[in-house]
């Protein structure tokens, strides 16, 4: 989903800006609730508004799951129905107070969402589509057929409201107040640790894992929150209409919810409210479409996807950004980056050791019985011809690929079985050969995702300063407010390095950081690597540029056909006959200099 992220703001203005925004927002909320209480509305208008507000709460759930996290949920009507039936049956058959029934509904919906998420979110996106449709179908079957409990297709009448809010005006006031609170919460969520993790997972799940985000837990959290808001909206809906029946919570309604989120713009709460309002009011305005209005919905979904993938609100925000004069980002005074958590140790002790590591893809031995020792505060290069297993070895080291055999020990701890994000939390940073950034997020947000590690505890506001310091270290703090997609290739590489640095790694794995860079950029990269070593970092680097490797590396390991063929000081390794044979195909006294691999 190519959702739009808010453009980066000047960090020093955010606190004051959000206090003003909160005050204005609060005033608008109070005014809206007061209007609902004071203005006498027709029963028709009350119903319409009640439907719009309660639906909007459920659609805000989709903002979290679809817009922030990039997951599909085709069962929002089912979660909505769980909330609605809890209030319906709770206040009638079980004679519970409204608030108790509402709480049960919210908890039930969230629990159902958590269970669905836990079972299906390890798998790809289309599985989730299928699982949510299945859940939706089963819930509709249960609501229709478990007549003893749900009263079947006849539905549940005479649902009660809370004692003090029995009149429609005050009840609508309650719904509006809840909507304002929920929308504020969803908006704020975007710039919390969890919210940034969600967006990172949406933009690049693999990279999110590698920089230390538990993508699975993040997705389950997003899905659960979404279901919770669905249940909340449904519970209020049941109180508003005093009658519910199974057909109100069918698959078709789930599609309507989805369309609302997409039409308005899934990436922002304002889009959810806008989309809901439009799709509640449009059918009323377009009564002449009665027979084909769902067909028009379907057509609209395709058109939105093709022409306006960010929805109306997203489209408006893009226009707004284009029209607005872009100010250069002023990072202010940046403190130097505190790189490692421990005093730099130059004692040559082992930071990572690999014993008999193997990875077989069917019959292909991509990595074959490799031993490797990386010593603290060195630059250790891994070279070898194309297809010799270098990237696979790196993938094994940070856990993207599970090994076939062997062990990996990081600072004396066996990490062989740990998922990538837990290795990141133990101080393993990484960049990719083909850059993997969070494309829709700002440069600063990208680096902040990298900075948010448990060992990296920051004082309030410190996170942003730390991320800026990391950007400053690689020399691009001035671009912190830009979207990463707008940066040059070389700058994107630097953002990726800054993102890894912000997590305070002890060992940094760099996969061909020089690939695609011009001479000037390469020289800068070499200086950067030397500075990193000077700060006590250990670097494990893959590259084809021998000139660069010779400039920075203190130790070289050579792979060929998945096997280690040489290991030691650069001068020895590059003269090793096997290495020369691997690169040139025959024995010759020449060194493979600066041409890279043949």
């Amino acid at each position: 989903m190519s959702a739009s992220a808010l453009s980066g703001k000047n960090p020093r203005n955010t606190a004051g800006g959000s206090a003003l925004a909160l005050a204005l927002y609060g005033a608008a909320a109070i005014a809206a609730v007061a209007a609902a209480l004071a203005i006498p509305l027709s029963a028709y208008a009350l119903n319409l508004l009640m439907q719009a507000t309660t639906y909007a709460i459920a659609v805000l759930g989709l903002t979290i799951v679809l817009g922030y996290t990039g997951l599909i949920n085709l069962a929002q009507a089912a979660f909505f129905g769980l909330g609605a039936y809890s209030v319906a049956l709770g206040t009638t058959a079980f004679a519970l107070p409204f608030w108790v029934a509402l709480a049960i509904g919210v908890v039930l919906a969230a629990a159902a969402g958590a269970v669905l998420g836990l079972t299906s979110l390890r798998l790809g996106g289309h599985y989730l589509a299928m699982v949510t449709i299945s859940f939706q179908t089963i819930l509709t079957l249960v609501l229709t057929n478990w007549i003893a409990l749900t009263r079947g297709p006849d539905g549940v009448p005479n649902i009660r409201r809370p004692v003090l809010l029995a009149e429609s005006g005050p009840y609508l006031g309650l719904c509006i107040a809840v909507l304002f609170v929920v929308a504020w919460f969803v908006w704020r969520l975007k710039s919390t640790k969890l919210g940034r993790a969600m967006q990172a997972v949406r933009d690049n799940e693999l990279a999110a894992n590698v920089v230390g985000v538990d993508a699975y837990a993040t997705k389950v959290a997003a899905f659960t929150l979404s279901a919770l808001l669905g249940g909340f909206g449904g519970a209020l809906f049941a109180g508003g209409f005093a009658y519910v029946s199974p057909d109100q919570f069918s698959f078709a309604e789930s599609v309507v919810f989805l369309t609302m989120a997409l039409l308005g713009g899934a990436a922002a709460p304002a889009g959810a409210v806008l989309g809901t309002g439009l799709l509640i009011l449009l059918p009323e305005w377009l009564r002449f479409l009665k027979v084909i209005y769902l067909a028009v919905y379907g057509g609209a979904v395709i058109l939105i996807m093709v022409f306006m993938p960010d929805g109306i609100w997203g489209y408006a925000m893009t226009l707004w950004r284009k029209l607005r004069h872009e100010r250069p980002f002023d990072p202010g005074l940046i403190a130097p980056l505190a790189l490692t958590r421990e005093t730099a140790r130059d004692d040559g002790s082992i930071i990572l050791s690999v014993h008999r590591l193997s990875k077989h893809f069917g019959g292909l031995k991509a990595v074959d019985d490799v031993d490797l020792t990386i010593r603290r505060n060195t630059v250790h290069a891994l070279i070898g011809p194309n297809g010799s297993g270098k990237t696979t070895l790196l993938n094994l080291l940070n856990g993207i690929v599970a090994s076939t055999g062997g062990t990996i020990t990081l600072e004396g701890v066996d990490v062989t079985g740990l998922p990538p994000y837990r290795r990141a939390n133990r101080g393993l940073g990484r960049t990719f050969q083909n850059i993997r950034l969070f494309g829709a997020m700002s440069v600063l947000d990208n680096v902040m995702v990298g900075a948010e590690r448990p060992h990296n505890a920051m004082p309030a506001g410190g996170l942003e300063r730390h991320a800026l310091a990391a950007l400053d270290f690689v020399g691009i703090a001035a671009r912190a407010g830009a979207r990463v997609g707008s940066l040059s290739y070389g700058h994107q590489r630097l953002v990726e390095i800054a993102r890894a640095l912000a997590g305070s790694p002890k060992l940094l794995l760099l996969d061909e950081p020089g690939a695609g860079l011009n001479h000037v950029e390469k020289d800068e990269l070499v200086r950067l690597l030397k500075r990193l070593k000077g700060h006590g970092l250990t670097i494990f680097i893959i590259d084809h540029d021998m000139a660069m490797v010779e400039q920075v590396a203190g130790h070289i390991t050579v792979l060929n056909f998945g096997k280690r063929i040489a290991d030691g000081a650069p001068s020895d390794v590059l003269r090793h006959p096997d290495v020369i044979a691997a690169y040139l195909g025959e024995e010759r006294p020449a060194l493979p200099r600066s041409h890279g691999a043949p």
Binding site: M1, S2, G70, I72, L74, T119, S120, R122, L123, G125, H126, Y127, A129, M130, V131, I133, S134, F135, T137, I138, L141, T144, N145, E205, L206, A252, V255, L258, T259, L262, V291, I292, L294, A295, Y297, G298, G299, A300, V301, I302, M305, V306, P309, T391, L394, N395, I400, V401, F432, Q433, D511
Partner: protein, 291 residues
């Protein structure tokens, strides 16, 4: 015993319908890495086209079938151009949503044009079936089974023995590489959509005499077919068939021995169990993203 055998036969018959639609899913998924949520609606369109041609226009049955399939070839092309092609370079989510939109558009478009009353279509055979012992063999189910087997065989020959088939396989495995080798990738995807629309249409034509022809018939079959794909292993042709037939049998026995109203729930319960225990399906392999 006879009762159980009868159930087994019916289950396999129902299951082969799922298998036929699941084949279409597997094909499009392999060619585009996208799940087409309107696959079932191809079957619905096929069934409605038969109703219009054979009943309303009183054309001969076989001619109606030919026209229906020809219409669906064109429709598959149109579908590709409108629903998939504009989004081909985006992630899977917009494409999935777009096919869901197409499904809603198709179902409600037909609903608006033809009304909600279920239609029925006679079988091409005058004999409803025959009995061996206590078991009644419905002729339509036999045809469905037969056609499924033939389509699978044809598909095998096509993919393994013809150049076009190999080009399509190459496209599905690596679009970039295929296009570098001079294979017209977009053309291959176009053919895939046309072919899977025809597969859906065949399913619709075959199912119409067994079920009522309604606008929702396609999506309810498609959901089961989709579940069949997951159970069999996504994108795997053998898996689609085995999964489809297994679901048909489970569902038939479930509604006979457990509960009729919850008939539709069995498929999904089996699906949940698979997702928990063996998410890659019976024949599937786990695929991981390339770093």
């Amino acid at each position: 015993m006879g009762f159980n055998l009868q159930l087994l036969f019916t289950g396999i018959g129902v299951g082969s319908i799922y298998a036929l639609v699941a084949l279409g899913f597997a094909l499009i998924y392999r060619a585009t890495n996208v799940v087409n949520f309107a696959q079932g609606d191809f079957a619905m369109l096929g069934a409605f086209a038969m109703v219009v041609l054979a009943i309303d226009l009183e054309l001969p049955y076989w001619l109606s079938i030919l026209i229906t399939l020809a219409l669906l070839i064109g429709f598959g092309a149109l579908f590709n151009l409108c629903v998939y092609y504009p989004l081909r370079n985006r992630s899977f989510l917009p494409v999935i949503i777009s096919t869901i939109g197409a499904s809603i558009l198709l179902e409600n478009g037909v609903l608006a044009a033809y009304g909600p009353r279920p239609q029925s279509l006679d079988s091409i055979f005058s004999i409803p079936g025959f009995s061996i012992g206590e078991i009644f063999f419905d002729s339509q189910y036999i045809v469905i089974l037969f056609v499924t087997v033939v389509m699978v065989a044809l598909q095998y020959v096509f993919f393994e023995r013809t150049l076009l088939g190999k080009k399509m396989q190459a496209t599905s495995q690596d679009k970039e590489m295929a296009s570098l080798l001079g294979i017209p990738v977009m053309g291959m995807i176009m053919i895939t959509f046309m072919y899977s629309a025809v597969l859906g249409g065949i399913a619709g034509v075959l199912v119409a005499p067994v079920l009522f022809v309604t606008v929702g018939m396609g999506s309810s079959i498609a959901l089961k077919a989709f579940a069949a794909c997951i159970i069999g292993g996504f994108g795997d042709v053998t898996g689609a068939i085995v999964g489809g037939i297994a679901l048909g049998v489970i569902e038939t026995f479930g509604s006979a021995y457990v509960s009729v109203p919850y008939k539709d729930a069995f498929a999904f319960l089996v699906l949940f169990v698979f997702l928990l225990v063996r998410p890659q399906g019976i024949f599937g392999e786990r695929i991981s993203e390339k770093a």
